[in-house]
Structure formats: C-alpha cells, structure tokens
Amino acid sequence: MTAKVKMLVNEWGALSECAARLKSKSVAQLFEADPGRSQRYSLEFSGYYLDFAKQRIDDQAWGALCDLARISGLPCAIKKLVCGEVVNPTENRPALHTALRAAPKAFDLKDASIAESVAQSLSKMASIVAKIYSKQWRGFSGKAITDIVNIGVGGSDLGPFMTCHALDEFSTDEARRLNMHFVSSMDGTQIFQVLEHLDPATTLFIVSSKSFTTIDTFYNANTAIAWLMDSVADRQVIMRHHVIAISASPEKMNAWGVPESNQLLFWEWVGGRFSMWSAIGLPIAIKIGMDNFLALLDGAHEMDVHFATAPFEQNMPVIMGLLGVWNATFLGINAHTVLPYDGRLRFLPNYLTQLEMESNGKSVTNDGETVEFKTCPILWGDVGPNAQHAFYQLLHQGTQEVSCDFIAPVMRYHKVEGASSVGARTSLAEQQCLALANCLAQSRVLAFGNHAVADDSDSEVYKRYRGNQPSTTLLMDELTPRFLGGLLAAYEHKVFVMATLWNINPFDQWGVELGKNIAKQTQAALKGEGSFLFDSSTDALIKRIQAKANTAS
C-alpha cells in the first residue's frame, strides 16, 4: 500500500465515521447546536450565492471532505483538465470544454493551436448567423430562411434546446422572425410533426453529430432530405442551401455531400455533453445573437477561472462536488433532484440528467477496479413550483432520502418593457416574490419538517413531516447569458470533482454502446432478414410485432 493510498483509506475511514455520527442527527439539531452555521456554509461569488447550510454536515465532516479532495489529487486533476492533458484515459483524450470559452492564453494549454481553431470556428459561426440574420441565407426558391431545424441527439440537442428556452428573452429582433425547432428522437415523431407545417423553400436544417454517424440523427436527417427532394430534385442544391453540418469529422461531412462552406467543426477533445460551447451551440447563437452567445461563454469562463484558482473552501464547483460525494457515497442518499424556481430553466434538470448520469454513472475506477461504494445518484427534476404539485409529496413524506438543489434568480421582470401593461408588470413582480417565497419555504420544510413551524404539535401521523432532506440553494442575481454560462460550467466542474474523488472517468460513455449494436441485429430480425434466435421473451415480442405489421400492410 503506497503512502497515498494509505492516506486515502484513512480519510475515507474518517469520513465514514463522520457519516455514521451525522446520520443519527437531524438538520434541525445541527442548527440548534450551531445557529450561525449559514455564515460558514455559504459562498458568494460574482452574483451567485450558494447556501449549503441545510446539508447534513458539520465542521469535522466538512474539513475531512476538503482534506479528501486534496488527498485525492483534485488540485492536480484540475490543472490537467484545463491544460489539456489526457483526462479521458479509455479514449486517450483531453476534455477541453474550458478551452472553448477561454480567452487565448487564459490557461497554459499544452497544444497552443487550439485557441486559434476555436477562434476560427467562432468566426465562421458568426458569419453564418450574420447571413441568416440579414435574410441572405436563401433556400432553393430564393426566399430567405424562416425556419431552422436542429437535428441532433444527446449532447447535440440537450444543451442548445435547454439554453434556447432559458434565454428566449434575449432573442434578437432578427431572431424573432425565425422559428427554431429541435428534432432528436429516432422514432420520427418530432421530424414528422415539424415537417407537417414547414415550407421546404424556407427551412434550414442543422445536422449535428460529433461522429457524424449517430444513427438517430441520420434517420431524421434522411427523412428531412427526402422531404426537401420532393420540392427540388438536385441534392447539391439542398446541401448548399438547406443544410449546415456540425461535426468533429470533416471527412464524413464531405462524404455526405455537405460543401465546406456549410461545415462547422469541433474536435475530438470536446465531449458531446460538454459541447454546447462549441459550434454545436449554433442554434443558441442564432436564437440570442453572437454577442449574447459570447456572454454565455464569458460567464462559463469566469466560472472556469474560479474553479481553477479559488481555494476549495471557497470554490463553488468544488463545494457542490464534495456535497454530491458526501450525500451519495457517505450518507447513502441515492436520489438527487434539481428544482429551478423559474420556468425558463424548465429543461435544466433534463440537461443535468445527461451531464451527471452519463458522466458519473460508472462503477469501474481508472485503475480498472470495481468500486465498492455508491457513485452517481439518480438525478431528476422539474420546475420547482410545478413539482410541488407532483413529486414533492414523496420528498416530504415518502420513504426515500433525496438531496435537492434549489435554483432561483433573484431579480426578474425588472427590465420588462413594451407590450406588457403596467398592471401586468406589477402583478408579475408579485409572482416572482411568490416563487421565491415557495422556494425558501420548501427547502425549510424539507430540512426541518414539522420543526419549521413553531407550533408543531399536530398529532395526526399522516400530517407529520419528517424533514431531514438535505438541500443546497443557489441564488443568482438574474438569469442572463453570463449567469447561465457560469451555472452550467459550475455543474460541469461539480461532475469532474465527484469523478476525481471516486477515481472514475467522467468523459467516456461505454455503457451506451452495446444496445446500439444489438439494435442493428434486432432491426434485421424485425424485417425478417435472416433467422435470429435471441431469448424467448425477445423472440415472442418480435413475432408479435411482425404479425401485427403483416396484417397492417
């Protein structure tokens, strides 16, 4: 056993002891013993305010967690991450999403040419946005493009989709006359619905796929091309005027017939779920304009610098990551919910589902050993106020322990102008106050249960609140491109912190491969091509489908 491993074992042991001690304590008791704890368990950074006093920690546990971070080599890992060392060993790649939003020379990059490639790609994006905005991107009939359909799945969909919704208020005037659509699912539902009401003459497709082989995306894209070819037979015209391709593989884009002028590049060292900062963010840039897109990148970069330089005790992503490990691994809380109290962040939980679970849903360490503890919890969420009418019942009175992230911008509707009347504005400001009140109230009840009210003598059992569900509340001054950029970067780094402490690789996703391969065989079986025998269950299902399909045709 090396000295480092020994120290790790000791530290894990110390933390397990802390956990055993704290499991028998309620949040209410922690506050009773330590009324001023929110002073220590909170952080203010550049308009963000992170309150983690309602987490089930005390000074001893928190100190041990910070020590664990250091012993686990987090300082060195962060440096390796931002400098472009290989941090994804199973694919032998760096993960340089930080370079996508950095000013040149912000970090000591191993490969100096990266900054230039990033700048080039951004400038090509800008010229595409300008051409669309000036109504000079034209379809086959000569009419300007009015509808843009993003075809992509996973990382090529979730980030742009979530961000376009979140920052809709920042739409430029030019963007307001454009309609943005997102198509991802392989079953064709979305593409079918979208094509139903679009005019091929004025529709532009963005085909996004890192490998440019994603089967879901290409089935959708081929349907789109077939739809266009009903109006114009020349495939070259379609490729020149109706398709923009975004990928890390120029060869495959060439092979598919996309002219170079319509290709946007990103690189192998950008993970799919970390790629909305690259050319994959084109729908965002079209929606909110290049200036706002750059502000989004700036916000993320600010968080990167904070992550790379702030001491761990005052480091927002590090704190979030340590709490994640504490809850999942040491307290054994295997469910985590994200609860934005702002409808604009409706799709944030969905986005984080991929970011956290695809990154850290792993059980083998970087040394090839099976982990002996719980890693990434099950993550889900919804807009908080709506979730109050859905799954909060389980949070308050169910049998599962769940950790929670409450997220809310403080100021809203303070800049609303124009169409809405003075009366509506006053009322909207009142609605914001109501949402914030609910956000704080729910986290209190979750933490303190019946103790949250002075008179908790309500004796009926079914009206009792257990409390003791730990939560973090993250406030930001307002929701702007900059604040959203920082928020997302914080979650990205939180994931990295957790992976580092767990010694797992957050940047690969081998778990999604096998199903893809087996689906090919199964597709052949369904079509009756060759004879396959799987298992009695699958065989019966195939027979059932074939029989129905035959009667239908």
């Binding site: 034209r138 086959f140 000569g142 009419k143 015209v237 020149r240 005027h241």
Partner: protein, 433 residues
Amino acid sequence: MKISIYGQDVNAVVAATCLAEAGHEVYLSRIGDASKQLSWDESYIEREPGLLTRYRRMLGRNLRVRAFKDARSFGTVQWVFGRGQSDAALQQVFTSLAKAWREGVLYLLTSHHSVGTYQRMGEVLKEGGVPMSDQHCPLVSMPTMIREGVALADFESPALLVVGTNDEFAIATVTQMLRPYINRADKTLFVDGLTAEITRNAISTMLATRLSFMNKLAQLCENLGVDVEVVREAMAGDPRVGSEYLNPGCGFGGDNLADELANVQELLPKGSAARQLVDAVAQTNEEQKEILFRKVWRYYQANIQGRTIAIWGAAFKPGTDSLVNSPILTLLEAFWAQGVITRVYDPQALDALRLRFQGQELLECVDSPYEAAENADALLIVTAWKEFYNPDFEQLKALLAVPAIFDGRNIYEPEVMQELGFEYFGLGRGLRI
C-alpha cells in the same frame, strides 16, 4: 399677401414659386439642420421638370430666400413643410414661430408625420403663447397630393385639395391665398385637422394596398399561366376599379407611400386584423423588391456566385434620381451577398448610387445601357425609364452572354421578346420560373 414658407423639398419650392407667380410676396426659409449649412443641396429643384426656370424667374422679384428669423416676422401666412424633419425638429420650428406671433397670423402645416402631429403642433403653438380656443385655431393642416415629376401641374390644378381647418378666418385666408389655383381644383374639401391627416393617410394606404394586391395577383396569374396584363386592362375598364395604381411591378419606393403606410401601422394595435392587413401590404412590397433576384436565382438553379447581372434603372421611379426605398437597394444587397457582380445603368441616379456604395467592389456603374449588358448573364429592368422601351434588341441580344430578361416593370411584350430570341420573364406574364 405676405407669405413665409419653410422647408427644403420640392413641395416647398413649388408652393413658393407658384404663390409668388400668383402675385404674393413670398419669403422662403430653410429649417432644421439645413438652416445651419452655408450651402445646401438644391439639385431637387433642378430635377423637377420646369421648376428651376420658373423658380429663378421669381427669385429677386417677389420671391426671396431669407433666414428663419426674418421669415417668421414677415408672413401673415406661415407655411411649414415638414418633410425630412424629425418630430423634435418640427416641434422646435413651431416653438420659435410662436415667439413671433402677432394678431392675424395663420400657420399651415404640410407633413407626412404620424397622425396626431397636427394636434401636437397646435399644442406647441398654444404653449408658446398663440391664442387658441375651440372657436379660434390659427393652424391649418394642408396635406398635399403633389407627385414628383409633375409637381407644378399638381399644385396649379390639383385633382383634390384638402384643407384641414374649420376656422372661418383660416378658411377665408387659405381660399384667398390659393387663388387662382383653388378654382382649378377638381374638388376642394374643408375638413378638420385630424380628418385631413387621416384622409392623407387613407389615400396613400389605399394606393399601396392596390399595388401590393396587384403584385400578388401577378404571382397568381403567373402560377396559373394567365397574362396579368389582360386581367389588369379588364379591371381598369371597370369604373369601380379605375386604372390608376394598377400596374404590377418590382415594388414601390420613394418615401411617400412607405411613410404613410408606417403611420397607419403605428395607429393599429398589433395582432388586430386591420394591422395584419396593412402589414401584409408592406411585407408584400418588401418581398416584391427582391422578386427579380429570386427569379434569377431559380433560373440559375440557386448557383449564381461569380455571375454578372446587368440592371437597367436604379431610381425608385422614372423622372427622379432618388434611391429612397428603391427596389435596387434590396436587389443589390441580395446579389452581393451571393457574390454576384452587378452592372447598373440609370440615366439620372448613378451618382447617388456611386455615393451610397463607395468601395463596393461588386458594383459597376456604367454610362450606357449597352455597356451594362455586355457579357452579362441576365438583364433586369428595375425602373421604367422611357429610353428602355425601345432598345436595339439585336445589339442587346448580341451583347448579353445569356439573352434572358427579367422585367420588373412589364415594359415589353412577351410574344415579341420570344420572337426576338430572348427568354423573357415578366411579372405575371412571359415565361414562368
């Protein structure tokens, strides 16, 4: 009668000239930014047929160009032409006019500003100390229906004269001032100020609506293989429709219709059916301005980079060198964005074009229509100058690399052009694309 006239456009100079000719003593004064300049661009006087000679003849007799402060203490009629002035500038003019108010002065306002301007300027005068009441209002709204190119004739024998006032004294003064012209008007209407503004708006919007409707009709005819010219002639023969403003074209320009359309859009609530109607008129016109581009685009299967396109006409209508809202602006931007070389000929507007697009490498301005056509991949007709009606077609065909003509003013006959060996694309007639 002593009359002071303010403004620097054809309307103001035409009014000053004609009123001087009718025996009045007239001071003409500049307003706004122009009043601060030492020399001012008077080329619009030169461009208006017949105006320069008559204007010069009256200058130094009973028409004088004077500084603002002299003019405001001179005329018993103070007539402001607000074209080209911002709202604030116009307000400033009336504030200073009010300072020189004396008993018996009458103010006239001719402008294309938004509805309500008349009332606002009345308030400005009142605040400046001009006695105003329900019974007595010395401000008259004078919408003019003067068209560039025939401005003198339109002033001297107007088809319609609308005078916005119901003040007895004002009516009497205007009637006297406009003698002998008022007698030659086909129709004279005395209405209140707001009604006059709305009337002016309504007429322009109706005309714009007719044009946009005809352009949509041309498209429909084209799709159905019907000659829109035949339909148009039949429509014009119906007295309920009449023949004016019924020609399809590649979009109307100038600032008159466009300004008035914008005024009406402003009056109507967003989303209302009325607003949608007027929006559609405006939008149809904007799209119409690039219709020739779209035809060329389709002709070359959406692959036009590096081609050369000849364009005849740049002015928004024949008889002017003005590029204001001209379809040429939309067309050039569209072609340049695709890397197309544009070679333009216009008998009057080339200087304006050169000045506006200095340094644009894809623009060539040439001095003859044939030079424009040389080795070009298509010819576009944008302005219906008379000299374009009968070119030497043989020479033209020989010069063009591709004998394809896209006619935005329907000045040629499709059958004739076909016989001459051209591919001819009109609006609602000729070849379909």
